[in-house]
Each structure stands twice: as structure tokens, then as C-alpha cells.
């Protein structure tokens, strides 16, 4: 069972995040960059499947040189090796362009199962697994809260607002996972120290056979035209309770169309 986990480095959602005003892309240099939180659940799930079925877990990321930190984190949790696609031409790519790059990288790998987080905390476009499914011609099982593999069949429980669906498909397939699926392990110290010796293969667009002109901000299918900072928090409304406090509170909520 060979599993590829898609991992993305994102600015830490817990600290201040900015766009670069020169081209309206994510300002990575000034950010505290971390592995996308949801991806840790996908890694954990891959490791769990590997522990019961054997095989290898490969981490695949597309990102600048500093994305090696996210790769190390995944390797220290227990993944076996990594492929890092890095090429300046990718900067500013939209999800559609990025999916072409990832698909090309996946085609150079052997996989039975591709796992990824259901969303990233930066763009939150959340369409990558669907785009890859289309490009690779493999089934897409989205939003899993539970996953089991038996032979060449994968079954998942797809989490929805109203309950869950039972889905099943043949392998190879791509599955996206929510944070309800498991509890990611802490990287062990042995894992952390072993990670620096694990193979990380760096690939350019040329290595993947992707035309640099087909990716990047200039030909992106979507781009940020303008942005503005969040307006400062206004003064709160003080409700003085003169025996009618409850009435005033409900009145306020009703005026805001919250009740």
C-alpha cells in the first residue's frame, strides 16, 4: 500500500497574516509558516494505514524552499520520504494551475491512495482533491471522518452537516480528510532525528514536464485584484439594565437579524 500525502505550508492561522501589496499574493517571508493543520490529520491517517497494511508513505508538497520545514514535520511524524516541487515560476498560481503541477508530480510516483486535508487555512479554496481526481481519472472521496482499506477497496464515512455518507471505491483513489478522523501523533524525538536522514527529492517544473508559462500569476484563472485590512473593531453597545435589560438585548439581537 503506497500512500502519497499532499502537504501544504501555510502562514500560521494563529498569528497575523498579510498579503504582499506588490502582487496581492500571500506574504510568506514575513509570516510564521507552518504545516497546514488539516494536513496533519491526513498524515496521521496515512501512517495508521501503513502500520496495518505495510507499504510506504510519501509526502508531496509544492512550495518555496522554506516549505522543507513542513516536509520535515511530516517526515518526523513517520512518513518515509518526500517530493518537494519548487520552482519560482509557480509563484502566484491558482488552484487549477497548481493541480496540474501536483498531478504531474503524482504521475511520476507509484500510489494506491492519495490523502490530503479537506481544506487549507490560507486560501480555503478546498477544490484540490476534486481537480486532481479529474486530472488523474481516479475516484475522489471527499471529507472523510473515517477511512478503512481492504484489499483494493477504500471505504470512508463522508462527514456532512446532517450526518454522514458511506462511500466506497476501488483503488487508486484520492481521499480528503477532516480533523474528526483521528488525533495526529506528536513527532517523537527519534522521528525528529531520523527525519533529517530521510530522502527528499526536489523537482522543478522541467523535471515534471510542465511548461512554466502555463503556471504562475500571469496566466492564473483567478487572482486577487484588491484587498483591504479588516476595519477596526467599533465601540460596543452598552445596554443599561433598568428592569428592561432582557427586552433591550432581544431588541438588539433582532435588529441585527440574529434572532
Amino acid at each position: 500500500m503506497n500512500i502519497v500525502v499532499l502537504v501544504k505550508q501555510v502562514p500560521d492561522s494563529g498569528s497575523e497574516r498579510k498579503l504582499d501589496s506588490s502582487d496581492n499574493t500571500v506574504a510568506r517571508a514575513s509570516a510564521d509558516n507552518v504545516i497546514n493543520e488539516m494536513d496533519e490529520y491526513a498524515i496521521e491517517e496515512a501512517l495508521t494505514v501503513k502500520e496495518s497494511q505495510g507499504g510506504e508513505v510519501t509526502v508531496l508538497t509544492v512550495g518555496p524552499g522554506s516549505a522543507t520545514d513542513a516536509i520535515r514535520k511530516a517526515l518526523s511524524m513517520g512518513a518515509d520520504k518526500a517530493v518537494h516541487v519548487t520552482d519560482d515560476a509557480v509563484h502566484g498560481s491558482c488552484a487549477v494551475q497548481t493541480s496540474a503541477v501536483i498531478a504531474a508530480a503524482l504521475q511520476q510516483l507509484e500510489y494506491d491512495l492519495v490523502l490530503c486535508g479537506a481544506e487549507s487555512t490560507d486560501g480555503q479554496v478546498s477544490v484540490m482533491p476534486a481537480l486532481l481526481s479529474e486530472r488523474l481519472g481516479i475516484p475522489h472521496l471527499s471529507g472523510a471522518r473515517k477511512l478503512t482499506v481492504e484489499g483494493t477497496t477504500v471505504r470512508v464515512e463522508r462527514q456532512t452537516d446532517g450526518g454522514y455518507w458511506m462511500l466506497e471505491s476501488s483503488l487508486p483513489a484520492i481521499v480528503s480528510t477532516w480533523d474528526t478522523i483521528n488525533e495526529p501523533r506528536y513527532p517523537s524525538f527519534k522521528g525528529i532525528m531520523a527525519a533529517k536522514k530521510k530522502p527528499v527529492e526536489t523537482k522543478s517544473l522541467a523535471d515534471l514536464g510542465v511548461d512554466p508559462a502555463s503556471v504562475g500569476l500571469a496566466t492564473a484563472t483567478s487572482r486577487v485584484l484588491d484587498f483591504a485590512g479588516r476595519p477596526p473593531k467599533g465601540e460596543g453597545v452598552k445596554v443599561a439594565d433598568e428592569g428592561d435589560g432582557a427586552e433591550k438585548l432581544v431588541g438588539y439581537l433582532a435588529a441585527q437579524k440574529l434572532v
Binding site: 497575523e16 520545514d69 520535515r72 514535520k73 518526523s76 501523533r185 506528536y186 513527532p187 517523537s188 524525538f189 527519534k190 525528529i192 532525528m193 527525519a195 533529517k196
Partner: protein, 397 residues
């Protein structure tokens, strides 16, 4: 905008101001971050309650710490992670930011009990105990101090008498961390040939370890008396590699090194909490943090904390290079604990009355650090060690 509230720069965490991460290797930072996250997730939400109740879920925590690789992390082989001393120090700092009791559990397991078996034990001792102790399935303690012999361990009264090929241990040890929960005790005793160490399974008849009650410090830690009432051990229970006091004293150097970092964790946690409080607490219509007297306190504490960490990192690099001398460990232990307790107490003053309740950590840290100031060599003894080093004259007695 009222005077004093102008915010020209974004506030930075006290240690971030020193920009120290570049002094540490990436995998050492990764180890630190893992321990920090573990403490945030598993310890911080509960520790005030544990402390108040005088309990610590040692078995559970030991297994989790074992899974991470914390226990005996700086030892090589036998299931130990084999990290640098620097990584071990940073882990101690994060653990003690949780609570000195948690760091004590780890220090005693890894630096005292496991280190003694690793350094001085037979292959059989190592195989039997180290992998289980590294996993946190077996807990160890270390019996050197006695009721009347702390700074003067050479005066110990516990004896190991030969009876045929067996050894028979008799005596009392005191202030033994992990004692009542331990599976194995490394016990030091007087023999006809000087002081020797023994590996004592705690289910051996004659061994008991009543817990010491009514502690006002290290409440989230088990502290015990060890009673050795004719404990009969086979000939191979003795640690073959240690003869005389140099054996146990080298173990204490290991544990002290962890405290050099650990105590600063308690200080950092106190300072971060006081900083956050001072920024949100409004007094006379302005944040407490905007007053000059408060800023003087915060600035002085930030400086002492950063200086302490710099010294600790320097000592760690010396240790990793195999050049750290015991009197250099004294420099670090004395400085870290003395400054940490001063910081914790000063932080309490920043919070005013609120500083005395368990919701905030500084009172707990300050109370814990009273023990840390004394154990593994009192501040006074470390002053004497440093005094001897610079004068060439010993003033211990």
C-alpha cells in the same frame, strides 16, 4: 489616545526579543516545539488542579512522555532517543514551564535513575530496565539523600552488608522524587569498600516508600521516604561501574544540568502570564503595562530571563562538546533558580491580589522553586563550589 497607550511596535514575547533560535539546530527546535505542544495540550489545562489536589497522574504521563522519547532522551541506545544535551535542556525548559513537578519526574527518571543504570550498570541491568523506563512503563527513583545528610552525602548511614553472596540494605532515604510510585530504586549505601550503588526492585521484601504529605511546594509531584528494612538483594544488584561518591555525584550533575534550563521555563511562564495580565488590566483608566514602574519590572525580568537562557545554551554547548565541568553546572544552577524564583515572585506583584490564586501560575511556580532552590545542591552549596573555583579554597565546613 491617552498618554502611555501609544503602541509604536507590536509587543514581542520576552525571549523572542533575544532572537535565540538561530543558536539552536533545527531538530533541537523541533524537539522543543513538540514538548511545548505536549505541555500546552496535556499539562497546562490540568496542572493547577493537580497541584491544588496534590496529585500527578504519573503512570499516564510517563507513558505519554515515553512515546515522545523524553525519558532518558540524551542517553544512547537501549531504546533511548540519543539527542543532544541542548535538546534535553530545551525539553526541560518546556516541561518546567508546565510545572516543576513534571520536570522533576523527567529529571529523576532520565538523569538520575536511567543515567545511573546506563553509566554504571551491568548489561543485565541495562537490558532489564532501560527500555521499559524509556517507554515510561517502568518508573525509577534515586536514593542518595538521607534525613540528616543532604549537602553532606558522605555522611550517609544506610549500609549494605554482605551476607554470603547476597547484599542486605538497611537505612532510610529522604526527599525521594517518584519514590512511592517507582518500580526500581537506585540506592546508594555504605559498604566495607566505600559507597556503592544498588539496583533495587521496589517489590523486594523490606522495601517501602511512604509518601511525604503536607508539602507546600512541588505538590504535583510524588516525594517519598525510602525505608530499607533488611532488603536482601542478590550479588549482581550492585552497580559494577561506580565506586565511591563520584558515581552518584555525576548523576546529580546530569540532573542539575536539566534544572539550569528547567527553572527558566517556570520563569518564562510566570513572565508571559504577568505580561498578558498587565496589558489587559486597566488601572486608573490605563493598562497596567503602560506604567513606568511596571515596565521597569517587566524589562528587568526579560533581561534576567534572556541572560539565563544564554548562559544555559552556552553550558549546553560545552556539554555537547564534552567539556562541561561540574563547577560550571553550579554557575548555571545557581543563576537559573535564583533568578527564576525572583521573577516568579516579582510577577506575583504585577498581578496584585490576583497573583495569589491558582488561575495564574506564578505563585505555584514560586512555591515549587523553593524546592528547586534546595534540591540537587542548594544555592549555598553552589556558591561554595563557585567560591572554591575562584579562590582555590574550600569553605564547605
Amino acid at each position: 489616545m491617552a498618554p502611555g497607550t501609544a503602541s509604536l511596535t507590536r509587543p514581542r514575547a520576552p525571549l523572542a526579543l533575544f532572537d535565540l533560535d538561530g543558536l539552536v539546530a533545527p531538530e533541537e527546535l523541533a524537539i522543543r516545539d513538540t514538548v511545548r505542544r505536549f505541555v500546552d495540550d496535556r499539562v497546562a489545562p490540568h496542572v493547577a488542579g493537580w497541584w491544588e489536589d496534590g496529585v500527578l497522574p504519573i503512570r499516564e504521563l510517563a507513558r505519554e512522555l515515553g512515546d515522545l522519547g523524553v525519558l532518558g532522551m540524551h542517553l544512547e541506545g537501549h531504546g533511548c532517543a540519543g539527542t543532544t544535551a541542548t535538546a534535553y535542556g530545551l525539553a526541560c525548559l518546556e516541561l518546567e514551564a508546565g510545572d516543576s513537578g513534571l520536570r522533576s519526574l523527567v529529571s529523576v527518571q532520565g538523569s538520575l535513575a536511567m543515567y545511573a543504570i546506563h553509566a554504571f550498570g551491568s548489561d543485565e541491568h541495562r537490558d532489564r530496565w532501560l527500555p521499559a523506563m524509556a517507554r515510561g512503563e517502568a518508573i525509577g527513583c534515586f536514593g542518595l539523600t538521607e534525613p540528616d545528610f543532604g549537602s553532606d552525602p558522605a555522611g550517609m548511614r544506610t549500609t549494605a552488608r554482605r551476607d554470603g553472596t547476597d547484599w542486605v540494605l538497611t537505612g532510610t532515604k529522604m526527599w525521594i522524587t517518584n519514590g512511592s510510585v517507582a518500580d526500581v530504586a537506585v540506592v546508594w549505601a555504605r559498604t566495607e569498600d566505600g559507597i556503592r550503588g544498588f539496583v533495587v526492585p521496589t517489590d523486594t521484601p523490606g522495601f517501602s516508600a511512604p509518601a511525604i504529605a503536607h508539602k507546600m511546594s512541588l505538590r504535583a509531584s510524588v516525594t517519598s521516604e525510602l525505608v530499607l528494612d533488611g532488603v536482601r538483594l542478590p550479588a549482581d544488584a550492585v552497580l559494577p561501574g561506580a565506586a565511591g561518591l563520584s558515581g552518584p555525584l555525576s548523576c546529580l550533575d546530569e540532573a542539575r544540568f536539566g534544572i539550569v534550563f528547567g527553572a527558566l521555563g517556570a520563569a518564562r511562564d510566570s513572565l508571559e502570564s504577568a505580561l498578558a495580565y498587565s496589558q489587559s488590566r486597566i488601572i486608573f483608566d490605563r493598562p497596567l503595562a503602560s506604567y513606568q514602574l511596571t515596565q521597569a519590572k517587566l524589562a528587568d525580568m526579560t533581561l534576567e530571563l534572556g541572560k539565563g537562557v544564554l548562559l544555559a545554551l552556552h553550558l549546553a554547548r560545552l556539554k555537547d562538546a564534552g567539556r562541561l565541568a561540574p563547577d560550571q553546572v553550579s554557575l548555571g544552577k545557581l543563576n537559573s533558580v535564583r533568578e527564576a524564583i525572583a521573577i516568579a515572585r516579582e510577577c506575583r506583584t504585577v498581578l496584585g491580589a490576583a497573583g495569589i490564586v491558582a488561575e495564574y501560575p506564578m505563585m505555584r511556580h514560586a512555591a515549587n522553586l523553593e524546592s528547586v532552590l534546595t534540591y540537587e545542591g542548594t544555592s549555598e552549596v553552589h556558591q561554595l563550589v563557585i567560591g572554591r573555583a575562584v579562590t582555590g579554597m574550600a569553605a564547605f565546613r
